[in-house]
């Protein structure tokens, strides 16, 4: 076993693994990237039903309805221009509240409502998800670093 032979084996092994990894990553990227939209963008991009996406916005005031003895919940997410009806069944994060920022992950159902698989509380100490802040800025509904809607 010479130094050259060893290097060749190492190189071949490395390249094979690299190929496998690239294939894995590329296939995962084409299927598993989750795009983030505000409710307006969701309409504008004509996202098909069943496509897994993230939606960010504010939980519309007065829209939260508990169903099925508190096991399920429905609410509307708004970016100030458009809103989206969300259905969800599962644990809500502690900081979920009307008028506050929220990120929901899931897919549109055939009836145009959004079936959330996950409601996220990715808050920083300002209680505003970054993506939501950006989305609100785009629609012109951002009210500064301390929007009145955030504090109770």
């Amino acid at each position: 076993m010479t130094r050259k032979r060893r290097r060749l084996y190492l190189l071949l092994g490395g390249l094979t693994t690299l190929g496998v990894v690239s294939a894995l990553v590329l296939s995962a990227f084409s299927n598993d990237l989750v795009f983030f939209y505000s409710p307006s963008e969701l309409r504008a991009h004509h996202v098909p039903a069943g496509r897994y996406v993230r939606i960010g916005g504010l939980v519309e005031q007065g829209s939260v309805v508990h169903k099925d003895g508190g096991k399920a919940i429905a609410f509307r997410v708004t970016d100030g221009k458009r809103d989206l009806e969300v259905q969800y069944r599962g644990p809500l994060p502690d900081l979920f509240r009307e008028g506050q920022g929220v990120v929901v992950e899931g897919a549109l159902a055939g009836d145009g409502t959004f079936r959330a698989a996950e409601v996220l509380a990715k808050h920083d100490e300002k209680y505003m998800p970054r993506e939501v802040a950006d989305a609100l800025k785009k629609t012109g509904h951002w009210q500064g670093e301390h929007p009145a809607t955030v504090k109770q």
Binding site: Y9, L18, L24, V25, L33, V34, P91
Partner: protein
């Protein structure tokens, strides 16, 4: 006054660190013993100074000195003492002071225990440590000064984010930082070796214990973070592939690879330049992790404050540290010639495979974590990469790695016998086969992947035990002989066995998540709900008052076959100061399964939303992690590292002039 002293100590520490990063380097180049001797003294001095600053900051928090802005923004008189102390690093400024405190602690440890190092190497290692310290001290003093005053002082402070008011804050960040920052020692050794142009077995023997220590701390730190996320409702469970979690996983993967490749350098004097590169990469990823978490590019409970100025500064530090060390590597690495040759099938080959798979897994985590940030930075669409991506890339790469864990230690150095190794593993084949067949029959269309996970874990565990039994000649020699062999086996070998068994235990815990049972119900006092063979009885909800919160405290009785198993008290806590509600889950564990209970909202008509989960084998994740870290500690106690008596004797008997071969 104490605050000003702390501030002054921090400024002084910066100048000491600057001295530490320049003089010893010049001294080592000119072989000037006096200038080289500055290094250990400066390392100890900067440790003492930073300790003073850290103590002053803790004092300000404990005594609620509201003339200090940092205390006002993060503390409150009502806060319990534990959270006044841990709140010191529950904010950006304080956590950076903790970072530098641990960095100087490691610097002082190298100075203290490094008496047997060649003076040139020690001077250079400490100089590099000094450079890192200078960078971060400058960062603290220029952008994140925790000692800034505010006159007049307000009567009370804003308090700490309620989600951080948890015992987890006392341990998770310090252990994580011990790991992150501990890798700086391996980094400094790598850069020093590149400057000297020399890497040998002795170098690896010095690097490995530091890497091991950092790795153990990081393992514990990650496990604690995972446990904290697990018992906190809404944080996605024990692992969510959140970018913040990935930021800590990346240095762990690189550190694990480094741990293994350093063995090859030590035993076989080969793979040198790769090991040096890994040491640089590992600490670079620690810095990337710090940048990701601290700069505010990611939103999470970890991102304390979003300030572009801070982000730019850390980014600059990152570029200098990573760019500089990689540049040096590009220039000097070709000079590091490998030693011993080996066949592809050999212990070295197995360790190369380990490194290859770990590096590839690392690359997938790196891509998945940074791609969304990259896309956002160039103005592309906003995307997120969640667990489906990692399930399809990271997990498949772990399968061959786990298969190889059992085989690698059975191969001989230089040239191994794969067929022989596989024959010796017949028990492991049998056990894994039984697990697959039995499991598939038992679940019948259930979580099939979990069964394969169990089989992999069984394969690893049996393989590890076979190797250990071979070494001590279990069942083949007289009991006395076996016992003698157990005692004579190097601690490093026992450490490996324990750590690999821990891996198998943790994999079992990961795989079992497919069997979780969940029950969400609206319950009234007196209601019973069946779950996983238990009956959950809801007694009532009372009120409770904590030091700085009011709580609704539920009482539930868990029974099985009419017998009480546990009484559980999940809570909902309301913090008036922050107007925030948090959930305190109640968990009953018997180390085989967890019963996990959370109290939700009342519906106003007497019913409460209750979430109950039965999570089999989940505790094994943390038991496995603790075993891995314990294995690392056992290996660390190996007499080989105990600052060898032989080396010291040689140094004493040798010439007065330090021997620096290779220069």
């Amino acid at each position: 006054m104490i605050v000003e002293l702390g501030h002054f100590a921090l400024v002084l520490a910066l100048f000491v660190s600057l001295t530490q990063s320049v003089l010893p380097l010049v001294g080592a180049a000119r072989r000037h013993p006096g200038m080289m001797a500055v290094a250990p003294a400066a390392a100890l001095a900067s440790f003492v100074l930073v300790t003073m600053a850290f103590a002053a900051l803790i004092n300000a928090h404990v005594t609620s000195d509201f003339s200090v802005i940092n205390v006002v923004e993060n503390s409150n008189t009502d806060k319990p003492l534990l959270y006044k102390i841990t709140g010191v690093w529950g904010n950006h400024e304080g956590s950076m002071v903790l970072w530098v405190f641990i960095l100087t602690l490691f610097g002082a440890a190298v100075a203290w225990f490094g008496g047997t190092l060649p003076p040139g190497l020690r001077a250079r290692v400490l100089a590099v440590q000094g450079m890192i310290g200078s960078g971060f001290l400058l960062f603290i003093l220029l952008t994140s000064d925790p000692f800034l005053r505010q006159i007049p002082a307000p009567a009370n402070g804003d308090g700490l984010n309620p989600v951080l008011q948890d015992p987890g804050l006392a341990f998770h960040p310090p252990f994580l930082y011990l790991g992150y920052v501990g890798f700086s020692v391996a980094f400094s050794f790598a850069v020093a070796a590149l400057i000297e142009g020399r890497v040998d077995a002795a170098w690896a023997r010095w690097v490995r214990p530091w890497t091991l220590a950092a790795w153990c701390a990081l393992t514990i730190g990650i496990a604690m973070g995972s446990w904290w996320a697990y018992y906190t409702l809404g944080w996605g469970g024990w692992w969510f592939w959140d970018p913040v979690e990935n930021a800590s996983l990346m240095p762990w993967l690189a550190g694990t690879a480094l741990l293994h490749s350093a063995i090859v350098v030590e035993k076989r004097d080969t793979l040198k330049s790769w090991t040096v590169l890994l040491a640089i990469i590992t600490f670079s990823l620690s810095l990337v992790g710090t940048f990701l978490v601290r700069s505010g590019v990611l939103t999470s409970v970890h991102a304390f404050a979003v300030s572009p100025q801070r982000g730019m500064f850390i980014l600059l530090l990152l570029i200098v540290a990573i760019g500089g060390s990689l540049g040096l590597y590009a220039v000097r690495a070709p000079a590091l010639r490998g030693g011993g040759l080996f066949a592809p099938v050999s212990r070295e080959g197995a360790l190369v495979l380990n490194n290859l798979l770990l590096s590839c897994a690392l690359a997938t985590v790196f891509l998945g974590t940074l791609y969304p940030l990259f896309l956002d930075a160039v103005g592309g669409p906003k995307v997120s990469v969640g667990y489906p991506f990692f399930d399809r890339t990271f997990v498949p790469l772990m399968v061959p790695l786990l298969l190889a864990v059992a085989v690698g230690p059975l191969l001989a150095w230089k040239r191994g016998d794969l067929l022989g190794a596989l024959q010796r593993l017949w028990v492991a084949f049998a056990v894994a086969g039984v697990v697959i067949l039995g499991g598939l029959y038992a679940v019948r269309g259930g979580p099939v992947l979990s069964v394969f996970g169990f089989a992999l874990a069984a394969w690893v565990a049996t393989g590890v035990l076979v190797e250990w039994a071979d070494r001590v000649r279990l069942f083949r020699a007289a009991p006395g002989e076996v016992w003698r062999r157990v005692l004579n086996l190097p601690r490093a070998s026992h450490g490996m066995t324990i750590a690999h068994l821990g891996l198998a235990v943790a994999v079992t815990g990961f795989a079992a998540s497919g069997f979780q049972q969940e029950r969400i119900a609206a319950m009234r006092p007196g209601d019973n709900v069946p779950i996983a063979g238990f009956v959950l009885h809801f007694t009532d909800v009372g009120t409770d008052k904590g030091p700085n919160f009011n709580a609704d405290r539920g009482t539930f009785i868990l029974t099985r076959g009419g017998e009480t198993v546990a009484v559980l008290h999940p809570e909902r806590r309301f913090f008036p100061l922050q107007q925030t509600t948090t959930s305190k889950t109640a968990i009953h564990t018997n180390f085989l399964a967890d019963f996990y209970l959370a109290l939700g909202d009342p519906d106003g008509k007497g019913a409460w939303t209750v979430r109950a989960y039965w999570k089999p084998l989940v505790p094994w994740i943390w038991i496995g992690a603790v075993m891995m870290a314990f294995g690392g500690l056992v290996s660390l106690s190996d007499r080989r590292w105990r600052v060898g008596a032989a080396t010291r004797a040689r140094a004493r008997g040798g010439a007065a002039v330090p021997v620096e071969a290779g220069e």
